[in-house]
């Protein structure tokens, strides 16, 4: 359940995001994730609420684990540009309710791609791991499977000793207008503390920007499951820059600077309460954004399987 007050306008969204995964033998996995939401918005700041129903297929893919270093994915998958879309956007993972401003750079048009992806762990040792992902997407205009014709890759290097990850992404948009988008990300999750630092930078033909997010769960006060240990303060700084007019990249038409202050609470039984306040500074006008959400994640076997 998501609630937002953005510059005085109220929105509410009950959301259901089912994920289905079915292993088929030792090498195959079929996966699907959908998004159903009713979007309630107010007519003005005091008027009645109206709602619109949205549904989308975020992924519908078949994974073939060819060997320890290569997995082939066919179907509809989350576009692997930077990390937010693939790794942090799920409702039960995201720290802030709102995606970063530059999230759409590199993931246009829908955040999902229809085609083929190769990915895997190219090298792994105690000191360093190297992962790769490369994909090609065809243009699709079918309602639930809309995607752009594009190709791209991501390479990330992870150092387990320090829990530092760095990576770069590249996407080539191959439709009527062809252009490149570049990205980079940096993660740091020190062993010594529950501090987590994640950041991304993206550069498209018409805009660029970055976000850096820090979180610090207070688990060192009597453990993660204590009253205080379930609290997780957050901070995110983000900026976007409009380099030149460019329609369709999803980034605001003016430079935006935004500071997000969040406070999440991890309740028992996979229930999570997220809240945040954001102050947006933009040439088109400054605004306050308040977000609150309550998420419940649950897992269950869809049919009788065998114990692993």
């Amino acid at each position: 359940m998501l609630g937002t007050v953005n510059a005085g306008s109220n929105y509410m969204q009950p959301v259901l995001d089912p994920l289905v995964a079915a292993p088929l033998g030792d090498h195959l996995l079929a996966e699907a994730r959908f998004d159903f939401r009713e979007f309630y918005s107010q007519n003005g700041n005091t008027g009645p609420y109206y709602s619109t129903f949205f549904k989308s297929t975020q992924l519908l893919q078949l994974d073939y684990i060819a060997n320890p270093k290569l997995t082939l994915v066919v179907g509809r998958f989350l576009t692997p540009f930077n990390t937010y879309n693939e790794r942090l956007s799920a409702l039960w993972i995201q720290n802030f309710q709102d995606a970063p401003i530059v999230f759409s750079l590199g993931t246009r048009t829908t955040g999902s791609s229809d085609g083929l992806m190769l990915r895997g762990n190219a090298y792994a040792s105690d000191k360093v791991e190297i992962n790769y992902t490369t994909y090609f997407s065809a243009s699709t205009k079918i309602d639930q499977f809309q995607a752009a014709r594009a190709a791209g890759d991501r390479i990330d290097v992870y150092f387990p000793g320090t829990r530092v990850e760095v990576g770069t992404s590249y996407a080539r948009f191959l439709q009527s207008t062809r252009y490149n988008t570049f990205g980079a990300h940096f993660y740091w999750l020190p062993w010594r503390s529950p501090l987590q630092v994640r950041s991304e930078y993206a550069h498209g033909p018409g805009a660029q920007g970055y976000w850096i997010e820090t979180s610090y769960r207070l688990s060192q006060f009597k453990g993660r499951d204590s009253l205080v240990g379930r609290i997780e303060p957050l901070f995110r700084m983000q900026q976007s820059f409009r380099n030149r007019p460019f329609s369709g990249d999803g980034v605001p038409g003016v430079d935006v600077k935004q500071a997000d202050f969040g406070l999440d609470y991890h309740l028992p039984h996979e229930v999570r309460f997220n809240s945040s306040y954001s102050r947006k500074f933009a040439g088109s006008g400054n605004a306050n954004i308040w977000d609150m959400s309550l998420t419940y994640r649950f897992l269950f076997p869809a049919w009788r399987g065998k114990k692993s």
Binding site: A21, A22, P23, L29, E31, D63, I65, P68, T71, V73, E86, R87, A90, W92, R119, G120, N121, A124, N131, T133, Y158, P160, G161, R163, E165, Y187, W188, L189, P190, W191, R192, S193, P194, L195, V197, S199, Q208, Y210, I212, T214, S219, Q220, G223, R224, D225, M237, Q239, K257, H266, P268, H269, R297, L299, F300, P301, R304, G305, K306, K307, S308
Partner: protein, 99 residues
């Protein structure tokens, strides 16, 4: 571009402060469960499954509080693809969830 440089510098300073905070933090009490917080000794965890979980999975999310043994294999297979887990890490994490 000056704005970018100025703000990236501020971000770097903030990161430096966080680094100092992280390094000065005292050792937390480890718990041998998937929910345990990362510890200084995590890099030398005796359980390879817990180490694999801390190294890979917890970069993005917490562990589920409970996993039905009948779906653990499916969940870990899903994460093998999503997180580019090596085959060894997949086996280790599977054993960690279902000792």
């Amino acid at each position: 571009m000056n704005t970018i440089v100025r703000n990236l510098t501020l971000a770097a300073l903030a990161l430096g402060s966080l680094a100092a905070l992280a390094q000065s933090t005292k050792t937390p009490q480890p718990a041998p469960t998937p929910q345990s917080a990362p510890t200084p000794a995590a890099a030398k965890l005796s359980d390879p499954g817990e180490r694999a979980f801390q190294v890979n999975c917890s970069r993005c999310h917490n562990a589920p509080e409970q996993l039905n043994p009948r779906i653990t294999g499916t969940v870990v297979r899903h994460m093998r693809v999503r997180a580019n887990l090596s085959a060894a890490d997949e086996r280790a994490i599977l054993r960690f969830f279902n000792p």
